[in-house]
């Protein structure tokens, strides 16, 4: 009942009553494409398998390096070379793609036939444009970040280095399986595989209990999501009889449902079909760190920064977005799934932003910003804008990787220092210019400064969608507010760490060098800051590899602005074109209309559903998109200004309006002190972890202990009791063996008397019956 009423408040508006304008056609087109792939299995070129194979090769080679005690940077170069090749292969896959999806099979995996039914899930890959889009930035970023890591991880050369790159390659492999898999089990394989790599890499510094705990948490929280995903897969199989994409998307039943959903009629779609999306959603929430399963991601920053950049910012965490985009047809036929996705995304975005505002660990701030941005993407998915989501995924991948890598450079250079109160003016330090500039680019993108940043375009697409989709205006306002917060906390970092008076305190890796979890093969003399001592600390400026990667990513972030304009007319940008020919092609009709105003908004059909009183597409009485430029652009600038005022350093020819003269004295402190418990709560992440611990972990642990005792005392006790009973009986009757002759005689006579009496009773009874 509770769930039912909850869902009623989250029910999805039918997106359009006119099938001709919407999904009927798309559905038909998709069905044809999928049908084609289904009828021509394994038709794709085999070299596509290279994309999957090369990372595996990298993994194996790195494992060998580890086994043979390699102590050079060869693992890194191997990895970079292989991943670059994989990227090139992906690129050629992109270029050679002819518009129809195809599958490539590596080998049979699950092949279970019984009667006319079958459960088939092969180790094969489904290539369509969504796949290509994802693989492009996955392999591309992976190559770049591997390059970055070759330098970043150099203090661990030896076993740890090999271990890092082995896991790195394994991650790329898993991600490739996740994105390219042609069935849900392959997706699941990749899904869990990236989870494993995430676990291994978060726990890279395995001597640190916090890292181990964080790794564990990440894996377990993800597993909760995975359970949802798994159940979703099972339900898909049960309901549609297949888990292969090509068959699934060509499934007639599914298209009947889609057509029904297009008219707003969900009553004829069976509950099973609707539940699939709800279950898959749980998986997506876990992997993409959405409320309430987001708690693992901030902790995941215990891993080395390249890992945070690649896995926990750019690629793995977008798997949830990919999942929903990939199964968009299934989400569409679920009445409540997409609204829930939208609202959860929105809530997550806001919640994470509020926490991010109050953190002092810059990597953690970035982590919360990742959660928040993922919230945007989910909101976009919920708002029927897969293009917006995918575009934001792409831009976010670039700028968030950039931000993380810049933060990582700082961390690397300042012996693990991440506290923004203890760093200041880093950009002005010798050798840190590139980091400062690229960080600025990243921050601008994240803040979404209007027109000059790609982050602005992608975020704008989402915000506009929120305002023009009937019933979702509230989401729009929340997201706008969040955008302001985002700008604030982003530039809070920038203003405190990168500009202002130069000051730096080394992190704890400097003081307790041995505690830093290196592999045991670690040659301490070779350590880049092994000769430092706490009395004189010199930051260790990034080398060429880090700088190169930062510059490339900064450029990529800026260049991806252009993606918004390529193919804008047909598909709302290049990303739209990539999404259009995939299962995620169910973009919102409103987006198209709001964007290009092909149709008079007043002519829009009234929307069926519980909401929709507001005229769609109007913000402040103007076109939604134009309005959004105004609102979000101004909001971003406002946020930056606020950050500058509260956190910015003093002066520098009037560029900064802040009053900070020392590393940790800023105007915000005074306000925070007077603001009551709120900043404390936000700093402590609203105590969500503690609440979880109190309501979930602790009770579970108590239950486990109770079970343990039940097992020990009750169950085993019963077994022991039954084992002991014969002895008890024996102990009871043993006195009869008194050794006295007469006693025996009496016992015999008495026993016989009793025996005969019992027999007599039995005979009387049976005789009576007879």
């Amino acid at each position: 009942m509770i769930t039912a009423s909850l869902f009623n408040s989250f029910s999805m508006p039918a997106f359009l009553a006119d099938p001709s304008a919407g999904h009927g056609e798309a559905s038909q087109h998709l069905a044809q494409l999928a049908e084609h792939a289904a009828q021509h299995p394994n038709a794709g070129p085999k070299w596509v398998l290279l994309i999957v194979l090369l990372p595996v090769l990298g993994f194996v080679l790195n494992a060998f390096y580890a086994a043979f005690g390699n102590k050079s940077k060869i693992p890194a170069w191997t990895t970079i070379a292989l991943l670059a090749t994989a990227f090139i292969a992906t690129l050629s896959m992109f270029l050679s793609y002819e518009g129809t999806p195809y599958t490539v099979q590596a080998f049979e995996w699950f092949n279970l036939h019984y009667g006319d039914k079958s459960f088939v899930a092969n180790f094969s890959f489904y290539i369509d444009k969504l796949t290509i889009l994802w693989m492009l930035f996955v392999t591309g970023l992976a190559t770049l970040i591997a390059l970055y890591a070759s330098e970043y991880m150099s203090h661990d050369i030896g076993l740890g280095y090999c271990r890092f790159f082995a896991a790195f390659c394994l991650f790329v492999f898993s991600m490739a399986c996740l994105v390219m898999g042609d069935n849900m089990l392959m997706l699941y394989l990749g899904w869990e595989g990236v989870g494993l790599c995430s676990y291994l890499l978060i726990g890279y510094f395995y001597k640190k209990p916090s890292a181990v705990a964080a790794a564990k948490k990440a894996f377990i929280v993800n597993r909760i999501g995975d359970l949802g995903l798994a159940l979703g897969v099972y339900l898909t199989f049960v309901h549609f009889g297949t888990v292969q994409y090509s068959e699934l998307f060509a499934n007639e039943t599914l298209h009947t449902y889609i057509n029904a959903a297009a008219t707003g009629d969900f009553s004829h779609i069976p509950a099973q079909a609707q539940w699939i999306a709800l279950l898959l959603m749980v998986g997506a929430f876990g992997k993409s760190a959405q409320f309430p399963l987001y708690v693992w991601l901030p902790d995941a920053m215990e891993g080395p920064t390249p890992v945070s950049a690649l896995i926990h910012a750019a690629t793995m965490v977008t798997a949830g977005v990919y999942l929903i985009a990939r199964f968009y047809p299934i989400f569409l036929v679920s009445e409540h799934a997409l609204p829930i996705v939208a609202w959860i995304g929105t809530i997550t975005a806001l919640l994470a932003a509020t926490i991010g505002m109050a953190q002092f660990d810059i990597k953690r701030i970035m982590a919360y910003s990742t959660v928040s941005q993922l919230g945007y993407m989910f909101a976009a998915l919920g708002l029927l804008s897969t293009t917006g989501a995918a575009f934001h995924v792409l831009t976010h991948a670039f700028f968030k990787a950039l931000l993380f890598l810049a933060c990582g450079a700082v961390m690397h250079g300042f012996a693990g220092q991440l506290d923004l109160r203890k760093l200041s003016g880093v950009a002005w330090m010798k050798g840190w210019g590139i980091v400062g500039v690229t960080m600025l680019v990243g921050c601008m993108n994240l803040a979404g400064l209007p027109y000059i940043t790609s982050g602005f375009y992608s975020k704008d697409m989402i915000l506009a969608e929120a305002f023009i989709t009937p019933g979702y205006r509230m989401i729009g306002w929340i997201l706008v507010f969040t955008a302001i917060l985002t700008a604030y906390y982003t530039f809070r970092v920038y203003f405190r760490v990168f500009v202002g008076p130069q000051h730096a305190e080394p992190g704890d890796e400097h003081d307790d060098h041995d505690d830093h979890a290196h592999g045991e093969e670690q040659n301490h003399d070779a350590g880049p800051h092994g000769d430092h001592h706490s009395d004189h600390f010199h930051p260790h400026a990034p080398g060429w590899a880090i700088n190169t990667v930062l510059v490339i990513l900064a450029c990529a972030s800026m260049l991806s602005i252009s993606l918004a304009y390529i193919q804008k007319a047909e598909h709302h940008g290049w990303v739209g074109s990539m999404v259009a020919e995939s299962s995620a092609s169910y973009h919102s009709p409103y987006a198209a209309e709001a964007h290009y105003a092909h149709v008079e908004h007043t002519d829009m059909h009234p929307v069926a559903g519980p909401v929709g009183t507001a005229a769609p597409g109007k913000v402040f009485g103007m076109d939604a998109h134009a309005g959004m430029i105004l609102v979000s652009g101004l909001g971003a600038i406002f946020g930056v200004l606020v950050a500058a005022y509260f956190h910015g350093p003093k002066g520098w020819q009037g560029l900064f309006i802040g009053g900070r003269t020392e590393s940790d004295k800023c105007r915000m402190d005074a306000i925070a002190r007077r603001a009551g418990p709120l900043p404390r709560l936000a700093e402590n992440k609203w105590f969500v972890d503690e609440i979880y611990a109190a309501i979930l972990v602790t009770p579970l642990r108590i239950i486990s202990h109770i079970f343990h005792w039940i097992d020990k005392l009750l169950l085993d006790g019963l077994v022991n009791l039954f084992g002991f009973l014969p002895r008890v009986f024996a102990w009871v009757i043993r006195p009869s063996q008194s050794g006295v002759l007469q006693g025996y005689a009496v016992s015999m006579a008495g026993g016989l008397a009793v025996l005969l009496f019992v027999v007599l009773v039995i005979v009387m009874n049976s005789g009576g019956a007879a």
Binding site: G193, G203, L715
Partner: protein
């Protein structure tokens, strides 16, 4: 007797002979080398058997050999294998050299006794799976108790006496009931209105057993489950297992987890289901509920263990719950998954026990509060540990996943209502999605306790017992011998994870047959399969047996 039959016999007899040879040797400390050589050499006939096995006829008993033993009891020494037996025999044979190698330095006293019994155990395990005669199966089934009893009692750790006795008595008590149930079936089939002949041939019994009334089947099922459920072990009959595992020597634990527990599930698959199909169908939900309780309950108990071996032992209880769940689903997915689980659990949990054994040899403690953070000192060990833990968690790509996913799907899809509604993936037995949901929490719990274990024992700062000093013979990290011991398991884990379809194909025919049998016995609509013919044949046979001409029991021709 074909060449392959000789090889199959060799798999049973050679270890016995070697055991005798070891037992009669003068020096009490011999045994390792002959046992090692034998167990490796046994791989040759084993692989030859695979090579010669006709997998397209997987349900047919191949390489069969039968010789009358006690004719009056109908007891034949009748062996042979279908593909399910073949795979389980292979697992047993594969574990042979592994456990021998794992024992080289662990066993320092009375090696003669140890390796002799290990070889006997090897023979008995092959016998269980090869038996085509009900009583022969039972004999081998029981006979495995004795070697294991000796291994635990003699070579176990501190609480070994209690552990060995509990292990023996608990399983023995259960299996006495199993014997009663089995004898009842045989007696039933020997009735003149059934076959009219006393036979212990499993295949023949299977054809008639479903004629038993519901009440009879229920009792028979209960009797058989009394033995098999204890062996599996199914909640709440599992309490012997943690104790036995904890106290057993490493090799004992490996074999216990790897093969002996599978005797229970194999028994359910091979006997309880085909011989009481209606009752099993009726009580499948109850059995499934027990297995799910086991999954969750044992999993949570694992989570609060400090004794690492106990943790893995409880994890076996939890894992085997999936296996039974798959069986209770009574469909192709479930049976396939369950058989896969039998095979794969042996590899991953066996691997975990080996890891623990190797650690125990170096530190002489299993307490995770005393020893931990070993990754920095023993990286290879830790790598394997994480690997096997992940295999055990059910990470896709490794062995745990295919079996687990199939078991869960099978429970999920066995919803009668859905089946009636024509859901394409549904199967009309009496579990349902909720079973999979609750069992699925086992996945999460498995991650919880295994990562808890890995986090404590492998990761974190290095903790060692205070009185720890390096082992005389063993290097700090794994020795080459130990790595070689582990590698087959690790390779097996990956192979099973990536190529389950190889196994699924191999077992598809027997599994299909069993499903059809269950369907027919319960009047379910059965998908047409290639085994229909066989069943028709069975029906004919049955009809002819029902005619008066066949009423004369052949056993009555005495004098």
């Amino acid at each position: 007797m074909s060449q392959q039959t000789v090889l199959l016999l060799a798999l049973m007899i050679v270890p016995l002979l070697v055991a005798l040879r070891i037992a009669f040797s003068k020096n009490p400390d011999t045994g390792y080398r002959p046992a090692l050589i034998t167990s490796w050499l046994l791989m040759i006939p084993a692989w030859k058997l695979i090579a010669d096995f006709d997998f397209s006829q997987g349900a047919t008993t191949q390489f069969a050999y039968s010789i009358s033993w006690v004719e009056s009891l109908g007891l034949n020494f009748s062996i042979g294998m279908d593909s399910v037996s073949l795979l389980l025999i292979l697992l047993s044979v594969l574990l042979g050299p592994i456990v021998v190698m794992a024992s080289k330095t662990a066993i320092v006293k009375d090696k003669r006794m140890y390796y002799a019994w290990l070889m006997v155990l090897q023979a008995a395990m092959v016998g269980v799976f090869a038996a085509q005669d009900l009583l022969l199966f039972y004999i081998c089934f029981e006979f495995t108790l004795l070697p294991m009893f000796v291994l635990i009692r003699k070579f176990g750790s501190t609480n070994r006496v209690a552990a060995s006795v509990k292990f023996f008595l608990y399983t023995f008590t259960g299996s006495m009931m199993t014997l009663a149930g089995m004898v009842y079936i045989v007696w039933f089939v020997a009735q003149p209105d059934q076959l009219g002949q006393w036979t212990l041939d499993i295949a023949t019994l299977t054809q008639y057993a479903s004629n038993m009334s519901m009440g009879e089947q229920t009792w028979v099922l209960l009797a058989m489950l009394a033995g098999f459920a204890v062996k599996v072990p199914l909640f709440p009959f599992h309490t012997w297992l943690p104790l036995a595992h904890t106290e057993a020597p490493t090799a004992g634990s490996v074999i216990l987890a790897g093969v002996l527990l599978k005797l229970g599930t194999y028994g359910i698959y091979r006997f309880a289901i085909p011989l009481a199909p209606t009752a099993f169908f009726e009580y499948a939900p109850e059995i499934a509920v027990l297995s799910i309780i086991g999954i969750i309950y044992a999993g949570l108990i694992c989570w609060v263990q400090t004794d690492i071996k106990k943790l893995v032992a409880y994890s076996s209880v939890s894992h085997l719950g999936f296996c039974v769940l798959g069986l209770a689903a009574l469909n192709v997915t479930g049976f396939s998954g369950s058989i896969l689980y039998m095979l794969s659990h042996g590899l991953s949990t066996g691997g975990l026990f080996l890891m623990i054994g190797f650690m125990y040899e170096r530190y002489h403690t299993r307490d995770m509060n005393t020893v931990g953070g070993l990754a920095s000192k023993m990286p290879i060990w830790a790598t394997f540990m994480v690997f096997f833990a992940m295999a055990s968690v059910g990470l896709p790509g490794l062995n745990g996943f295919p079996s687990e996913v199939l078991c869960l799907i099978s429970a999920f899809q066995s919803d009668a209502a859905w089946s009636a509604a024509g859901e394409p993936g549904a199967w009309g037995s009496s579990l349902g999605p909720w079973f999979a949901v609750f069992a699925g929490t086992g996945m999460v719990i498995a991650a919880m306790y295994l990562l808890f274990m890995v986090g404590k024992i492998c990761f974190g700062p290095l903790r060692e017992p205070e009185d720890h000093h390096p082992h005389d013979e063993l290097p700090t990290d794994l020795s080459m011998r130990e790595i070689i011991t582990l590698s087959p398991l690790a390779i097996g884990c990956i192979l099973f994870g990536l190529q389950p379809t190889m196994l699924l194909d191999a077992i598809s025919e027997p599994v299909n047959n069993t499903v059809v049998l269950v369907e027919q016995a319960n009047g379910l609509e059965s998908a047409p399969t290639r085994v229909d013919q066989m069943i028709e044949h069975a029906d004919e046979h049955h009809e002819s047996a029902a005619t008066p001409d066949h009423h004369t029991p052949e056993g009555a021709s005495h004098e």
